[in-house]
């Protein structure tokens, strides 16, 4: 039972409550740094580190943090991890760090992270909070990567810097520019919602068939 529950918390972040596709949170890094797959993954990993770390601490200290000043406490904890992530990226991958620029410090203001602290980590035991943070961060990473991959393939004809279509590929300049981020995200959201709609419709059909089967 216990194991199932934490597994459930992990899974919900990846698909059903995906922070980007279902909750539409964290739009700022989502649109700003996804012009290549590498940037997207670096951003996703940094966010994952910060989210899991701060969820762990917040959940551990949830009974000590006074209710009145909880937001400032969350922010201090998040900022600590963001600083660690910032310097780690600077030391390990300076090139990516330079491209991500101001968006690494801005992880502090990522509403996805603060949202999880307020809505989940500060209310649930540590183990569940960490699983929830891991799931949410994975969902965020998947979303960032899918956006970054689409934008890099169309905008540069490459994935992870490897040319896919040869030299005469005509790059779609718009995909590297900000409008490309909005367009791609819009189209992905469209497909996500369409899929959910179809699934609900299918489940309704199944339920109706079962009910009429039971009646008849």
């Amino acid at each position: 039972m216990k194991k199932n529950e934490s597994y459930e918390e992990f899974l919900k972040g990846i698909w059903r409550d995906n922070p980007v596709f279902a909750q539409v949170l964290g739009m700022c890094p989502m649109l700003a740094v996804t012009n290549s797959a590498v940037n997207a993954i670096a951003m996703g990993m940094a966010t994952m580190f910060v989210l899991v770390g701060s969820s762990f601490l917040v959940s551990t200290f949830r009974n000590v943090i006074p209710k009145q000043v909880r937001i400032s406490c969350f922010i201090i904890i998040i900022a600590t991890f963001v600083t660690i992530a910032d310097y780690t990226l600077l030391a390990l991958v300076p090139g990516v760090h330079k491209e991500l620029g101001a968006f690494i410090p801005l992880i502090v203001a990522n509403c996805l992270i603060l949202g999880r602290q307020e809505a989940f980590a500060s209310r649930y035991p540590t183990k569940l909070a960490v699983m929830d943070a891991l799931g949410m961060a994975c969902g965020f990473l998947v979303a960032l990567f899918s956006l970054g991959a689409v934008r890099e393939i169309l905008g540069d004809g490459a994935l992870f810097g490897v040319k896919l279509f040869g030299d005469s590929f005509e790059p779609w300049v718009i995909m590297i520019l900000p409008p490309g981020g909005f367009l791609t995200l819009g189209v992905i959201l469209l497909f996500f919602n369409w899929f959910k709609y179809k699934k609900d419709e299918f489940l309704d059909d199944v339920a109706r068939a079962e009910r009429s089967g039971a009646d008849g």
């Binding site: 279509f165 005469s168 590929f169 005509e170 779609w172 300049v173 409008p179 367009l183 819009g186 469209l190």
Partner: protein, 337 residues
Amino acid sequence: MTDKEPRLLLFHAPLLRQDMTTPRTMRDVIVALLPATAAAVWYFGLGAVLVLAASILGAAVAEWLFAPRASRGASLRDGSGLLTGLLLGLTLPPGLPMWMAFLGGFVSICLGKVIWGGLGHNLFNPALLGRAFLLATFPIAMTTWPVITPGEFGVQAGNLALPFMQAGADGVSGATPLGLFKFEQQVTPLAELAFGKIGGSIGETSGALLLLGGVYLWIRRDLDWRIPVSILATVALFSLVLVLFDAERFPAPLFSIFSGGLLLGAIYMATDPVTSPVTPKGAWIFGIGVGVLVMLIRVFGGLPEGVMYAILLMNAATPLIDRYTQPRVFGHEAESS
């Protein structure tokens, strides 16, 4: 309605019928564009036909794919999608690869029409939105103008580029009158502007034939004459004032009107009934706004041509204009302002 005999008539709602239907309007606009299109084919060769066909096909495919299954045929038959494809094609350079034109037509319908809720719900002119997308996506291909070859029905090398591949080096490339004026201070003679012996987009070659189509539409009551008249008058006035300051630096009024896509935009795109104001006063404001923006972008902006952005910006202002120019309802007091 003159029938005096008392009879029981059973009809549902539209009781007064006119032949003013969407398909008729769309057909009229297409007919009005035919002379200019034919002139373009004469000047640019079969490459222009390929670009137009690809963009119309792209629009039609998108219409068909995204229509609800029940009305799949209807959305194609009313001709609005085809007209969007044709208008988009006319704003493209004749040497554009066909796959880009196809993509443009597809995006026009998807982003310009379908996601807003279909015909009549879109905020922006779909054809211009498609062009804006193409210009941002393929800036080089969209500003490469082939040299005109009157009477030779050849195909441009770029037209046949494989999907997703570059157009390849074309060797010779021409320039548009506006580009020549802006970057090389060269004025193109008015006769060439009016009859189309100029480089540029497919549809903007022949100003006189575009005007002819506009007159046809006006006679058929398919367009609000206030919009093109106010746009052209504003542009003429604006450039007259500029010329009075410095005749060397600024374009003459007639040059402003006949160069670039102004006539195409003013007559066929700004007048799109969906994306322009419905009130007469609003139409004047809309037209003046487009005219001022066109001149601001052309003269003071970094781009040689600004008709597309001018119309798209005023499209965005259209709901506001409509709201503030509602006529007073009969019997109501005038609103104190």
